[in-house]
Symmetry: C2
Subunit: 339 residues, 2 copies
């Protein structure tokens, strides 16, 4: 009740431990003891301090506290789009692995934008002890804004040994997917790639190698780009089939696109997999709720997130870092019903 007359503008100055001490008529040390539940303090004194603290609306400075007892670790996790279920899974896994170690995770969603990522890099350096995630900016930006901070890329090859990286190797998985399709009689297999870069994706590279290994000609394995969304996949399959109605199967850059493809097929009256087989990439749980359930090249996101945290922990403590082989997550075919 006593505080109801405070003018908002006066809130400016920070209430420090000193103010509380003065108000309670004790020393700063005693305030600290009361607030941190230390043993050596009189019950009445403690209560008085606590009351004074509440009255003044005192909040300890996390910086001052962190400075003196340097124990907390926090990791910056950079994700292009938290709403994409694949990244959600990676983030959730990383969060869990960090929690097991008692670390805090500051999450940055860069909205798939290079500018936003730069903005993140600018501020992240002074907030976290290490950085993990999907970074697309040049390494110089990291050198500039996060000098010396341990960095673990996900799914990106670093050129400088300063940076560590979790590799996603889908070559085997894609090969399995194509072998699976070929075994089922498919000879004309299209791909719905992403449409972000001028060049085809790494995943398309795996696809191209796999179809070539089965002697399929480029003319029989056309590719079109798709926006990374369900709608994007739906539109892209329309485009692809308009140009190549002879296709009997399609492999996609990711599951979201595949689900869009499924929808296009349904609306176009195509039976899946009888008229058109569809295989995605990611292996999301999401794939099991669509009809038919999506066959997909699956990545173990649990392991991916855990590995990233494990590696960053080693970098942080100076423990011997994991090698490239151990940092690789391999994809495998997860057959369901769509192909």
């Amino acid at each position: 009740m006593a505080s109801s007359g405070i003018e908002p503008a006066m809130q400016r100055r920070r209430v420090t431990i000193h103010d509380v001490a003065r108000s309670a008529g004790v020393s700063r040390q005693t305030v600290s003891r009361a607030l941190n539940d230390k043993a050596e303090i009189d019950g009445a004194t403690k209560q008085r301090v606590l009351d004074a603290a509440r009255e003044l609306d005192y909040r300890p400075s996390r910086f001052a506290r962190g400075l003196v007892r340097q124990d907390t670790t926090s990791i910056g996790l950079v994700i292009p789009d938290l709403r994409n279920p694949f990244f959600t899974e990676v983030a959730a896994s990383a969060l869990q692995a960090a929690r097991e170690r008692g670390w805090h995770v500051v999450v940055y969603d860069t909205a798939d934008s290079a500018e936003q990522e730069l903005g993140t890099l600018r501020v992240i350096g002074s907030q976290v002890d290490a950085i993990v995630g999907y970074l697309s900016r040049p390494e110089e930006d990291l050198d500039r804004y996060a000098p010396g901070i341990p960095v673990v890329f996900i799914d990106r090859e670093p050129s400088n040994p300063r940076f560590s990286s979790i590799r996603v190797d889908g070559e085997d998985g894609v090969r399995q997917a194509i072998a699976h399709l070929v075994a089922a009689g498919h000879r004309r297999i299209g791909m719905l790639d992403h449409n972000r870069r001028p060049e085809p994706s790494v995943r398309h590279g795996w696809f191209a190698a796999a179809v070539a290994a089965h002697g399929l000609a480029p003319a029989d394995t056309p590719v079109v780009g798709a926006a990374q969304s369900v709608d994007g996949g739906e539109r892209a399959l329309g485009t692809l089939l308009a140009a190549h109605p002879e296709l009997t199967a399609v492999f996609t850059f990711n599951d979201l696109i595949a689900i869009g493809a499924l929808r296009h097929a349904r609306r176009a009256g195509l039976r899946v997999p009888a008229d058109l087989a569809v295989i995605g990439f990611d292996g999301l749980d999401l794939g099991s709720i669509v009809e038919p359930a999506l066959t997909s090249v699956a990545i173990d996101t649990q392991r991916l997130g855990a590995l990233a945290i494990e590696q960053v922990g080693r970098l942080l403590t100076g423990a011997p870092p994991l090698g490239a082989e151990q940092l690789t997550v391999r994809a495998t075919l997860r057959p369901r019903s769509s192909g």
Copy 2:
């Protein structure tokens, strides 16, 4: 190359700005200037400092830095399960709203466990300036571990005015859903509630009121509990229909459960909505990828997340907080195809 012989154990002591200064033969301030891109510094000196810093693997202490220029704000966001798409959306919205203000968000996934939440509360207080999210622990726990820190609950009624809250009011939306079903001729409408607490959920309360308003008897509006997952919904609908085969429609606690119900219906050979209408709650985008697309009582998660951040910002700056009315997010029926 010179640093290749460092023994891991020696990493213990922190490299401070002082070490860099000595190594570069300058004062600490000059190091600070070089690192922070200040104007008043000679190019050569700067380079020398930067080199020394890299050589020593120097990393500025974020605490010391934060202490002196107290500008960064960070918000603790507590989420029960990031993998549940509804919470993903809330988190993504909050992240975006925070980013617009230049704030950092530390995300805590409590895995829907009271123990994990307590663990979070224990550590969160010294890491963030304010707390937002789904908290289920008693308010005393917050008083104890996060004294004085602004707190904004989501979807929970605080008893103490110290705590702010974003209310989710689905009453109207549920009423619309039931009216929609009744208008389509349905008279026997079951509900798949959640199964977590001993008592029925608040959402069940809305359901009960809505069906009663249409004169439907409790015997015609049975309820069973479901685990909050697709599988849970699938199983629960099986249970419900086994006991009440006369039902022609079902309303569910959330979309995940509804999608499970859809799956059960499909496997049981029921046509949706002809044989059984299904209406979910949440209004997830996810609902549009299943077949038939899910009709749902939709919550504007974008607004929910933004509101939570807005309110916490007001609490933080001392600006007049939003009132209960403005802090309420109302749900509305989003008709698609399932009911």
